[in-house]
């Protein structure tokens, strides 16, 4: 399955983009405010200096006189290292200063303070102009003070503030991205939890999901539950079908076998007897396979709703051994019971079926005139059933391989079997919280099947 991108990444990226946009916006706003503030400061200082100069203008003997106040220029120099230009003009005549500083600009009216952004000597300037009326003799003369400064100081201040703002914006952005990742994780947590809960389920657990989940996940859970319901139904139907089929095959087989027995008794020639015996054996195998299929279906069906009765394993072992005594007897195999009283909680039918299949397997793969031991004891919290034969052993194959459905051991090519027996046992024991393990017989030839179950 190829994922088409990640929700978390998509969320993180889109939120980060939003954060970046906001950071950029806030930076440009702060930078522009800083520039405005710096410009206003320069304007104020220029205006203050120009006012000091204008106040120093006086008339003496009908002539306009001026001594530039030191403070006015010292103030400009104290704030920034900007170049300073000035001009004092009275009624169209330049009194002092830089003559062409104000070319193209009309002097402001008396009392007016005007700021201009202009250029002089190829440098951008900020200039303040103000006019004051001075009484020279009997005549009122307007005197215009123009004071200009380059804008490096502003640039430096605005640049510094803009840099600080940029650093803050970057920090803000980084924080926002980190939070975004966190938020994405938080938002997706219910989804991940749901996925984990479903993944944790056993292979046969098809119960509906009953979890508290955010409303956005309800449709997903609903669909999942409906799907699992359908799956469970279809599984049940197929098991029922198999059980039905096996049942329907077994009954006629029994009739055929009975007829074959009768025929065997009546047969005269050695060849006929031999043929009939083979026939009976084949019928037995078919019947056994059908029985196992039926068992398997029963197991699958009963595991869904496992009952929990107290079961004495010693009694169980004895009854199963007794039931298989005739089969063993056919091959002169002796089943030796060594049991102690251990109880477990579970479904008696299923556990009987499991043990019967394992024991049946052991009988099937044991050579004639051997022994099979069936031991019941306990190890710690677990009850332990050990079935050991003197057959060909496992030849290095693992429990997992051998308990797969329809899998058959490498050493049994000459024996007819369906391979379902161990699968049934394994499923039953797992459903009871136990397990099955196969090992070579530690006491010599043969194999051992060890069935473990939790003690009651």
């Amino acid at each position: 399955m190829n994922p088409t991108g990640s929700i978390r990444r998509r969320m993180t990226i889109s939120l980060a983009l939003v954060a970046a946009l906001l950071s950029l916006l806030s930076w440009s706003m702060v930078a522009s405010f800083a520039r405005q503030a710096a410009e206003r400061t320069q304007d104020n200082i220029l205006a203050a200096s120009a006012t000091i100069i204008a106040e120093a203008i006086r008339s003496e003997g009908g002539e306009v006189r001026l001594e530039l106040p030191y403070a006015a220029f010292a103030m400009l120099g104290a704030v920034s290292e900007d170049r300073v230009f000035y001009q004092i003009e009275t009624a169209g005549e330049i009194l002092t200063g830089y003559e062409d500083l104000t070319t193209g600009s009309i002097a402001p009216a008396a009392g007016e303070v005007r700021f201009e952004t202009t250029e002089y000597l190829d440098v951008p300037l900020r200039m303040v102009r103000m006019t004051r009326t001075v009484l020279a003799g009997e005549e009122a003369v307007p005197v215009t003070v123009s004071l200009a400064q380059t804008r490096n100081g502003i640039g430096t201040i605005a640049g510094d503030l803009s840099e600080t703002a940029a650093a803050l914006s970057v920090a803000f952005f980084v924080l926002a991205v980190a939070l975004t990742g966190f938020v994405a994780q938080l938002s997706l947590r219910p989804l991940n939890e749901l996925a984990q809960a479903v993944a944790r389920r056993g292979p046969t657990d098809l119960r509906p999901v009953r979890r508290q989940a955010p409303s956005e996940l309800t449709p997903l859970i609903g669909s999942l539950n409906r799907f699992m319901e359908r799956l469970a139904g279809s599984l049940r139907r197929s098991e029922e079908f198999i059980a039905e089929a096996a049942h329907r095959v077994r009954t006629p087989l029994a009739t055929v076998r009975a007829q074959a027995e009768v025929a065997l008794h009546g047969a005269q020639s050695h060849d006929d007897k031999q043929r009939l015996r083979q026939m009976i054996r084949a019928i037995d195998e078919s019947s056994r396979s059908a029985g196992q299929l039926l068992d398997h279906a029963t197991v699958a069906y009963r595991i869904e709703d496992l009952s929990r009765d107290t079961i004495n394993l010693a009694e169980l072992a004895a009854s199963v051994a007794a039931a298989l005594e005739p089969t063993a007897g056919l091959k002169d195999i002796e089943i030796r019971l060594e049991t102690s009283d251990v109880a477990t909680l579970g479904d008696k039918v299923l556990l009987e079926s499991a043990l019967r299949n394992v024991l049946d397997n052991a009988i099937k793969y044991s050579p004639d005139e051997t022994q099979i031991s069936l031991t019941v004891d306990q190890q710690g919290d677990m009850a332990c059933l050990r079935i050991c034969d003197q057959g060909p052993g496992l030849a290095g194959q693992s429990t997992t391989d051998l308990t797969k459905r329809f899998a058959r051991g490498a050493t049994v090519t000459d024996v007819v079997g369906s391979g379902l027996g161990l699968t049934i046992a394994s499923e039953v024991l797992q459903a009871h919280g136990g397990g099955i393990e196969l090992a070579d017989n530690p006491k010599g030839q043969g194999a051992c099947a060890i069935l473990t179950l939790p003690k009651a």
């Binding site: 530039l68 220029f73 010292a74 400009l76 104290a78 290292e81 004092i88 002092t96 200063g97 490096n152």
Partner: protein, 342 residues
């Protein structure tokens, strides 16, 4: 640049030296091993500066130095007229500042300029490399029997008490012709109200007016002058170690002291900017040196012990105030009223 024409015209007219070409006081060439040459225009006397040039050429043998001495006003005029020099050194920091403000200087930056304190440079255009106090120099002989004055107020009292002894024996700058004298006078007038009273008292004694520190100090040593007021401390210190130096005494008055910054700038018209930069770096490093290695006092005031500390004259647009023709006219008129009382 019509303003500069006006300003220059006014300034030169007042100094009565409106010559079209540079009036050179002294000039010497120190050829280097390479072809490179830097032309230096300076107010500092050649004999004062020669050791530094020799040292510079030892470190930079490839660079030749063409050293021209002129007055500070001549230098200002030369640069505004567009004469080509690679580096300009001047004791008139106001004129140097005006050049930079009006766009005649070019920016320069190096490791050496970065080591200068903020007050010793302006916009990477003007760089200070010495800090030199204005002092009074007196003749021991002419002051015999009189307690040496510690403040201007005491100096005024002494001059009043012995009018016949000091008649025609007080020397000071003619601020109309000396840029440095004008700078010292305007700064002192701004900082201390005693200045005008002292000027009045000196004016009554028929003072002798000079263009330059060196001549004033020589006249004190010869006994022609009893006191020279407002001379360059660096010149006085150097002269004291020479012949007849024991006949004079240097007074640093305690009530106020001017500290002038000798400054350098690289004109916009400079042709060998690299060489000029190397020369400027060497100047700054010599000025910043802990040990005094040359004729000039160090830039950092903490190196000078035992004198009252007054900060250097601020390198800033306020220096332009007294260069303004109107303001200058007003100041000179007051000064003339005080000094010429016949």
């Amino acid at each position: 640049m019509r303003y500069s024409d006006i300003a220059k015209g006014l300034i030169l007219a007042v100094w009565a030296s409106a010559l079209p070409a540079l009036e050179v006081e002294d000039r010497k060439s120190y050829p280097g091993e390479g072809g490179a040459m830097i032309s230096v225009l300076s107010t500092a006397d050649l004999d004062v500066f020669e050791p530094f040039i020799r040292q510079f050429q030892q470190d930079q043998p490839a660079i030749g130095v063409d050293y021209t001495v002129a007055s500070s006003t001549e230098i200002y005029a030369a640069i505004t007229e567009g004469m080509k020099f690679d580096i300009v050194l001047s004791s008139a920091m106001d004129l140097q500042f005006q050049l930079a403000n009006d766009g005649y200087a070019q920016a320069y930056g190096s490791d050496a300029t970065a080591r200068l304190p903020d007050w010793a440079q302006w916009r990477d255009l003007v760089f200070a490399f010495t800090s030199e106090p204005a002092v009074a120099v007196i003749s021991r002989e002419r002051f015999s029997g009189i307690d040496l004055p510690a403040t201007r107020q005491e100096l005024i009292s002494i001059l009043r008490d012995y009018p016949e002894r000091f008649d025609q024996s007080v020397g000071t700058y003619d601020v109309r012709t000396s840029g440095l004298g004008y700078l010292f006078a305007t700064q002192e007038a701004r900082n201390s109200d005693v200045f005008w009273r002292l000027s009045e008292v000196i004016g009554r004694l028929q003072p002798r007016l000079y263009c330059c520190s060196a001549q004033m100090i020589d006249d004190v040593i010869s006994g022609e002058l009893a006191i020279a007021y407002n001379v360059l401390g660096s010149y006085a210190e150097r002269r004291r170690t020479q012949e007849g130096g024991d006949r004079m005494e240097i007074l640093q008055l305690e009530d106020f002291g001017n500290n002038m910054l000798r400054t350098a700038l690289i004109p916009r018209t400079a042709e060998n900017v690299t060489g000029a930069g190397a020369f400027l770096d060497a100047l700054i490093l010599a000025g910043l040196a802990e040990e005094q290695t040359w004729a000039f006092p160090p830039l950092q005031p903490h190196a000078r012990q035992g004198t009252p500390e007054f900060g250097p004259i601020r390198l800033g647009p306020a220096l332009m105030v007294h260069l303004d023709p109107l303001t200058r006219r007003a100041f000179l008129s007051s000064w003339e009223d005080a000094m010429e009382q016949e």
